[in-house]
């Protein structure tokens, strides 16, 4: 394969922007087709890139223009970048495919096309966050991601969603602000914005001992800023309201993709800007670890207290974000592998949960209280099965991705210091029990004998697209759960190249 493939990320980014602009003029159905084909095309193109980079066994810097770093913008095309670009495109494709029905029911027809415009913009923001070799370009596309996800949330247009998205916006902008402060400080003490030069300058600064406090401040501001944007405990409070009120498709995209993009960008920051050794000297990872571990437990406790299906899944989302940051704080090699694996796991599981939940709930006349969902699994067999598979994966039963993720966390814990080992194992044990509590309750509830026949309201007829999307979510989950070796090896290999 020729090196022409290396142009594909640029083409995909531009194509996303073009599709977003064109989408504003299209009717809803056409905008949906455009978004779906765009995500599929991104998946295919990035797969080619992945094959090329994997074959070459190295990373490539791609100049955006005639000037190399440190003067012009750049992309960095590597194995992990391509892997996550693929995963994000795939999840967006499946979420849009399976999430048509709730969108059609809950969104005003005149505004439907804007949902797809925003989905295109989320995709481009994620692709740039994955590929950018420039800290400030990352910030610009973080802004796009924030605004687009806000649009995706409030498209339902009732008072509660507007309120919830305002809350989300406040949290998210706090995170953006902290991140920007961090970048400004870093630019002030190094004079660079592109990652390779930053890394060099940071190495020199650390060796000379100059600007120690500003550097520490900028690393912590960037890390905490991205963590706030991901919704790490204690900044997870927007999740329950937002995901509880938004269209389930929006919740799927937000929880499955947007919050993960920031976490991946933090991994890029750790490796490409500070370098893992310098990052680990700063001590910020301990803060992330503590917040993550607390988030895992508090998210699960929140989920147990909920009687509302969407809000329960939202709190579970907060717990999973906790896992990711716990892994980032655990250790540079195995901990990060576990965190990256967990990003993939959660991106593939949470949208399935939201979409299945919306299906089950719609079938029971819009019920969201567990009591009223009794027997939903019988009336909506496909959604019941997909929900169960995803719930099993979240609990961490064998033969699902969740099991592998917990195994990787356990493995990573044994390489870390003793307090972290004890804490990680404790958190894993407690959270597994708590997860089982609330997911088993839901699964048992939807498979209990139904109390009353379902209400008249029927889900719309586009069942095949949902069945295909849900089946793919479940299949990938189980397939990776059984054959996890190649993927974990790939993550480790990608990290070693980073």
């Amino acid at each position: 394969m020729s090196s022409f493939v290396l142009n594909f990320p640029l083409f995909m980014i531009i194509l996303c922007l073009v599709c977003a602009a064109v989408g504003t003029l299209l009717p809803r159905a056409a905008a949906r087709t455009v978004s779906l084909s765009l995500a599929a095309l991104c998946l295919a193109a990035i797969f080619c890139v992945f094959l090329y980079v994997y074959g070459a066994g190295q990373e490539f810097e791609y100049r955006m223009g005639h000037y190399p770093h440190p003067w012009g913008n750049e992309l960095k095309i590597g194995i992990l970048e391509s892997l996550f670009g693929m995963a994000f495109s795939l999840v967006l494709f499946l979420s849009l495919l399976g999430g048509k029905d709730p969108l059609d029911r809950l969104v005003e027809p005149g505004k439907g096309r804007f949902f797809y415009v925003m989905a295109d913009l989320v995709l481009v923001a994620l692709l740039v966050l994955v590929y950018s070799n420039d800290l400030f370009t990352g910030y610009v596309f973080i802004e796009i991601c924030t605004l687009a996800s806000c649009g995706i949330l409030m498209i339902r247009g009732n008072g509660r969603t507007v309120l919830a998205s305002t809350r989300y916006l406040i949290f998210s902008l706090t995170g953006s602000g902290l991140f920007l402060f961090g970048v400004i400080i870093l630019y002030n003490i190094t004079g660079h914005l592109l990652m390779p030069d930053l890394k060099e300058a940071v190495g020199a600064l650390t060796a000379s001992g100059a600007y120690r406090f500003p550097f520490l401040a900028s690393v912590s501001l960037v890390s905490i800023g991205l963590a706030v944007k991901s919704g790490l405990f204690p900044f997870h409070l927007w999740m329950a309201d937002t995901y509880g009120e938004a269209v389930p498709t929006s919740s799927a995209i937000l929880s499955g993709l947007v919050t993960k993009g920031y976490a991946f960008f933090l991994v890029r920051f750790i490796f490409d800007v500070t370098g893992p050794d310098i990052f680990w000297q700063s001590g910020v990872q301990n803060v992330l670890f503590a917040m993550g571990a607390a988030g895992v437990v508090m998210g699960s406790v929140g989920a147990i207290q909920e009687n509302n299906l969407y809000r329960m899944i939202a709190y579970s989302s907060a717990a999973q974000i906790g896992y990711i940051y716990m892994g980032i704080g655990l250790s540079a090699d195995l901990g990060l592998t576990a965190a990256l694996f967990h990003i993939l796991l959660h991106a593939l599981t949470k949208p399935a949960l939201f979409l299945s939940a919306s299906r089950l709930s719609a079938r029971m006349g819009g019920a969201l209280k567990f009591r009223n969902l009794q027997g939903a699994g019988y009336y909506e067999p496909a959604a019941g099965v997909y929900f169960t598979a995803a719930a099993f994966s979240m609990i961490g039963l064998p033969f699902t991705m969740g099991f592998i993720s917990k195994y990787l966390f356990g493995l990573a814990a044994f390489r870390a210091s003793t307090p972290k080992l004890v804490l990680t194992l404790l958190v894993l044990a407690v959270s597994t029990v708590l997860n089982t509590f609330y997911f088993a309750r839901t699964v048992l509830r939807i498979y209990n004998a139904p109390k009353k026949p379902p209400a008249e309201r029927q889900p719309a007829k586009d069942l095949p697209s949902y069945i295909i999307a849900g089946a793919l979510f479940a299949l990938i989950n189980v397939a990776v759960g059984i054959l996890s070796g190649p993927l974990t090896d790939l993550l480790g290999y990608g990290l070693s190249l980073f």
Binding site: N7, F11, I14, L17, V18, A20, A21, V22, L25, R63, M64, G65, H66, Y67, P70, W71, G72, N73, L106, G110, K111, F114, M118, V140, F141, I144, L147, M154, R160, F181, I185, Y187, N188, I189, T190, G191, H192, Y211, F213, P214, G244, E245, I304, Q305, E306, N307, N308, L309, R311, S358, A362, G366, A367, L368, K369, F370, R371, N372, R441, L444
Partner: protein
């Protein structure tokens, strides 16, 4: 609350009888699913016992919120103080602002921008050269930030209902002779000035962002003076979208071409030209025009959406 064994407690939890979100006794039955949220929210019935819920909410507000109100200001002051001290300490340790030998001012990046910027980009205004040539990808992102914001505001505010408030204000304004006369004199000048800033962005201070903002403010003034219907003759929702779309498409595709050429070591057909000429500096002038269009449309679009609910 009666004492439960663990088994009973588990059963009650499973049945959803325990509601953690509602503290203490005395709360009326919370409204059912449909009222809480979710798919059925569109046809949500009114809560059964409205007065009781309101009474409870009032009691809750008095008791819990009083505590919250007392703690909240203290916490705010505390957190803001901690963050301020932290950031102030950072600022004191940063390199002095404005001095020539700081890392940011003496890096090779800045040196090349200043020394070779003119010959490499052809732009007399180095800032334009940096944002539209060296770091053009960032600016491409920035203009799409505006586009995203405009779409988000459209999602929030696009409605068919006219807002009576703005109608009343408009009636007053449209009869205002001072506004009309001033507008008639000033609007052409402001427009001309805006166009000048956009066109000469590569020759002197200015560019698409600032010029677009000036043009947008002229449009807003025009709409204030003569009513949005007059603006809508030239710029309705459809033509608004088409204009923004054309500008963004041109920007994306032109930059895609130039990025592609740059990355693959090809020459573009847009050379730097003779610095100082209007038609010089390669793509910077057309890109400034595109950015100016997007910014002007976004500015006016925000104004129109917030006042009229449509463009």
């Amino acid at each position: 609350m009666k004492k439960r064994t663990f088994r009973e407690w588990l059963k009650a939890w499973d049945e959803g009888e325990i509601d953690f979100s509602v503290p203490g006794p005395g709360c009326p039955e919370t409204p059912g699913d449909a009222a809480s949220s979710g798919d059925a929210a569109d046809d949500r019935p009114a809560p059964k016992d409205d007065a009781a819920i309101r009474a409870y909410a009032r009691r809750f507000r008095d008791r819990e919120a009083a505590l919250f109100r007392r703690i909240y200001p203290v916490m705010v002051v505390l957190i803001v103080a901690v963050i301020s001290v932290f950031l102030l300490r950072v600022v004191t340790e940063l390199p002095p602002f404005g001095s020539a030998d700081t890392p940011a001012n003496s890096s090779e990046t800045i040196r090349r921008y200043l020394e070779d910027g003119l010959s490499e980009t052809g732009a007399v205004n180095v800032v334009a050269g940096v944002i539209l040539d060296y770091r053009a990808f960032d600016t491409l992102g920035e203009s799409h930030v505006l586009f995203t914001a405009a779409c988000a505001v459209l999602i929030l505010l696009l409605s068919s209902e006219k807002q009576s408030d703005s109608l009343r204000v408009r009636e007053i304004l449209e009869k205002d002779a001072v506004l009309h006369t001033t507008g008639r004199v000033l609007i052409p000048l402001i427009l001309l000035f805006g166009i000048y800033i956009v066109l000469c962005g590569h020759l002197g201070p200015g560019g698409g962002f600032s010029g677009g903002a000036v043009i947008g403010s002229a449009l807003i003034l025009y709409s204030l003076c003569y009513g949005p219907e007059r603006v809508r003759k030239g710029l309705n929702l459809k033509s608004y979208r088409v204009t923004v779309l054309t500008a963004l498409l041109f920007y994306s595709l032109a930059k895609c071409y130039s990025f592609f050429c740059g990355a693959n070591g090809l020459e573009t057909i847009f050379g730097p030209g003779t610095p100082g000429n209007l038609f010089s500096a390669g793509l910077i002038l057309p890109l400034n025009l595109a950015v100016g269009t997007v910014v002007a449309c976004t500015m006016y679009g925000f104004y129109a959406l917030f006042t009229e609910g449509t463009v």
